[in-house]
């Protein structure tokens, strides 16, 4: 027995391949209820009965043809790396279509285990299956599983060990005689030419005219293909249809015959929950209003629910931790510049960013709900007409929505689009989607300038981002990316009720990433920012390196509404590393005076009282959040009583008019993607797209902010 076994997980999109890998290995790969969650090859490792397994999660595919990126990735892996075993995951509630891929996989002659996932749903539908008979016909073990419930997982591994040991490969489909005769001729030639790939597979692929595969094949062996062309002609003349269709129909014929033997569905079929929900959510009249109300409520709850916690975090970090740390530093007689760096530099900035953890957590909980429930594909369905009008694709809507969480996975998610041009176009629009990292900026400014309409103003930001992306999309489509719109054929998964654990895992996973970012890149940016603000040391900030530079260029931003104060410009510069840094930087820039703690007399005896106060106010925050969400439909009626603003906020309040603040938010929304997003654009598309993205995201925000600023001024704001 081998020490290390490589297993490829292959199957249709959204059948639970990733969920199964997670269940086996305890990994936390991304799962979601729409087709196309996994878009790149992912791996997990696991040891079972002393054997080390390398589990390879391949993107979901409907067949092994080479027309989409996912299909090519899968074909390439299976052919070139020849895993020791394939776990072919099927959605057991939809066997007919899922088995189509199984018949193609058989030609690869790799030991295979067929997994019948979603067995819980299968049973609740009252379906019946003769497993023994299915195994006999397919020639390999068939294991029922419910991946999300952890059922059948060990059996899968045992079956894998068995098929690898006994080299059990699946039985291949026999086509009608005419085709088999042609195939055996091709197989003979291939064998003579020393074909390095499975013979049957290669013969079928040549006959089907799979360009991707034949190119690869002919780079390795020399073969005159005219005899294949003749075979194709003979078959097409006989059936009056193209070879691919003929082969596919015969595969389906074989599957139908098989299912007639082994599969029974109940005569009475009940109305499914999904159908009932869709009666409302996909309703011709209600569908769109419900969609917008849901998105609005999502942001409202995110904001109003998190506001008290943010206030508490802010008080805790700046009022409590900050106070005591500066006290300690003072006691330790550290030099002035070091205290200034720690308190004024790192603490002000990172603290402000960290105080938004509650906001991120709630947002990510909603994102997880959206992704797990099955609504994502529906949103694409509802919006396709709108997207189509600007030459985009309903499916482009999915990456865009994911972009509300974070732009980086959104760029990756464009891989579900079949067409390269659409992918690029969508990737250029993703940065206009307001990601979670931008929320702290809105939270800061709306908390100061739009206290009574926070949720509305933020919602407006999201809408504006989408509107701008549609307009930019339209322009690009008419110029750089012209051409036919690709087809919109997509599966709508059934609604699934996610478990609390799934939601929590997903949300916490992302929040952790946010915290990690605050501890690393943001802290670093804060230190660098502090340096540039304090060189030469002792000079007033306006005279510092960054101050001079920002003052030099701030005139550019006067038309856009915020060039009057160089500090706003200075905050944007480190903001290119990560959007939250803008907030941290503003904290440093506007909070300069409030490192006053260091000289203040602090009574060390009050520590315990301070701590107690923090705990009490933490519980108070729960009450307030509850009240905000459930008792007030008008935003923040209760917190509207002009709360006491912190140092930074007060200083910001003096420096902006509401209109200017609004323009600044708009600019931050549309401006340059963060470094990570640019990185992923580079990885996926190369430098030219990075350049293009940068160009668009510098010009567009300036134009839009200027427009809003000047129109706003004409209107008298």
């Amino acid at each position: 027995m081998k020490e290390r076994i490589v297993i490829a997980f292959v199957g249709n999109p959204n059948v639970g391949k990733t969920a199964l890998i997670n269940a086996i290995s305890g990994a936390q790969l991304k799962v979601g209820n729409w087709p196309g969650v996994t878009v790149e090859k992912k791996e997990a490792f696991f040891t079972h009965r002393g054997v080390e397994f390398r589990l390879v999660d391949l993107p979901g595919i409907y067949s092994l043809s080479p027309y989409t990126l996912e299909e090519r990735i899968s074909q390439e892996f299976l052919l070139e790396e020849r895993p020791d075993a394939v776990v072919n995951v099927l959605d057991s509630t939809n066997l007919e279509r899922n088995l189509y891929l199984t018949t193609q996989l058989a030609d690869l002659e790799i030991p295979t285990v067929v997994v019948l996932n979603m067995w819980d749903e299968f049973q609740s539908k009252g379906y019946q299956l003769d497993l023994k008979m299915l195994e006999r016909v397919l020639g390999v073990p068939c294991v029922p599983t419910a991946a999300t419930k952890g059922k059948g997982v060990d059996e899968v591994l045992d079956a894998v060990l068995e098929v690898v040991e006994k080299s059990r490969v699946p039985r291949k489909v026999r086509f009608k005689r005419i085709i088999e005769e042609e195939l055996s001729k091709i197989e003979k030639r291939l064998k003579e030419a020393g074909c390095p790939y499975p013979i049957r597979w290669s013969a079928v692929k040549l006959l089907e005219g799979d360009g991707f595969f034949s190119e690869k094949l002919f780079s390795k062996i020399k073969l005159d293909v005219s005899f294949v062309e003749e075979a194709v002609e003979r078959i097409e003349a006989h059936y009056g249809d193209d070879v691919e269709t003929v082969l596919a129909e015969q595969r389906y014929g074989y599957i139908n015959g098989l299912l007639k033997e082994v599969f029974k569905r109940p005569i009475q079929h009940k109305m499914e929950l999904t159908d009932i929900i869709d009666k409302v959510l996909l309703n011709r009249v209600l569908g769109l209003p419900v969609f917008f109300v849901m998105v609005y409520l999502m942001f409202k709850v995110t904001f109003d629910g998190s506001a008290p916690f943010i206030d508490w975090m802010d008080g805790f970090i700046n009022g409590f931790l900050g106070k005591w740390i500066s006290y300690l530093l003072y006691q330790a007689h550290l030099p002035g510049w070091l205290r200034s760096l720690v308190v004024g530099g790192i603490f002000q900035g990172v603290g402000l960013v960290l105080s938004f953890i509650p906001l991120m957590l709630i947002l990510y909980i909603f994102m997880a709900l959206l992704e797990e429930s099955g609504y994502m594909a529906r949103a694409a369905f509802l919006m396709d007409r709108v997207m189509h009008a600007v030459g985009l694709h309903g499916k482009s809507f999915i990456p865009l929505v994911i972009g509300f969480g974070c732009n980086v996975p959104a760029i990756l998610a464009t891989r579900t689009l079949e067409n390269e041009r659409d992918r690029k176009l969508t990737a250029l629009l993703v940065p206009f989607m307001s990601c979670g990292a931008r929320l702290p900026i809105y939270a800061l400014f709306t908390g100061i300038f739009f206290v009574r309409h926070r949720a509305e103003v933020v919602f407006l930001m999201y809408l504006l981002g989408m509107l701008v992306s549609l307009i930019v999309g339209l322009v690009l489509r008419r110029t750089v990316f012209s051409g036919e719109a690709p087809p919109f054929i997509m599966e709508l998964p059934p609604y699934r009720l996610p478990t609390l654990k799934m939601i929590w895992n997903s949300a916490w996973f992302r929040t952790k990433a946010f915290i990690r970012k605050a501890g690393t890149i943001i802290t670093l940016a804060m230190v660098i920012l502090w340096l540039f603000l304090n060189i030469p040391f002792g000079a007033p900030v306006e005279k510092s390196l960054l101050g001079r530079f920002s003052r030099g260029i701030s005139f550019v931003f006067v038309p856009a509404g915020f060039g009057h104060d160089w500090r706003t410009v200075a905050a944007l510069i480190p903001g290119t590393a990560a959007k939250e840094i803008v907030v941290g930087a503003l904290g440093q820039l506007y909070g300069g005076a409030s490192s006053s703690y260091s000289s203040e007399e602090i009574n060390p005896g009050s520590f315990r009282e301070d701590l107690k106060e923090q705990v009490v106010s933490f519980f108070g925050a729960f009450k307030e959040a509850f009240r905000n969400i459930f008792m007030s439909w008008k935003s923040s009626v209760f917190s509207g009583e002009e709360e006491e603003l912190g140092e930074v906020a007060k200083s910001i309040a003096h420096s902006f008019t509401p209109l200017q603040a609004f323009c600044y938010m708009v600019f931050c929304l549309l401006w340059m993607p963060c470094i990570s997003t640019l990185g992923i654009i580079y990885q996926e598309f190369g430098w030219s797209m990075v350049g293009m993205s940068l160009a668009i995201t510098t010009i567009v925000p300036w134009v839009v902010s200027s427009l809003i600023y000047n129109v706003g001024r004409l209107l008298g704001y």
Partner: protein
Amino acid sequence: MRLSELELGKEAVVVHIGGNGFLKRRLREMGLVKGEKLKVEHIAPLGDPIEVVIKGTRISLRKSEADLVEVEQL
């Protein structure tokens, strides 16, 4: 008749799938094959795309794509 002309809630059987390589192939992989029964389950608020149910799977496609599928109403 064409699938695009089939009214909401009506059932039909697939007779023929036209169109070019990719489209035809994709429809086939999703289970739209000759002789299969389907039903128009939803039409999007703005009139396009439509959702058809075939073998218990819900598939959405645009009217322009449904144009390529020849069906016979039941």
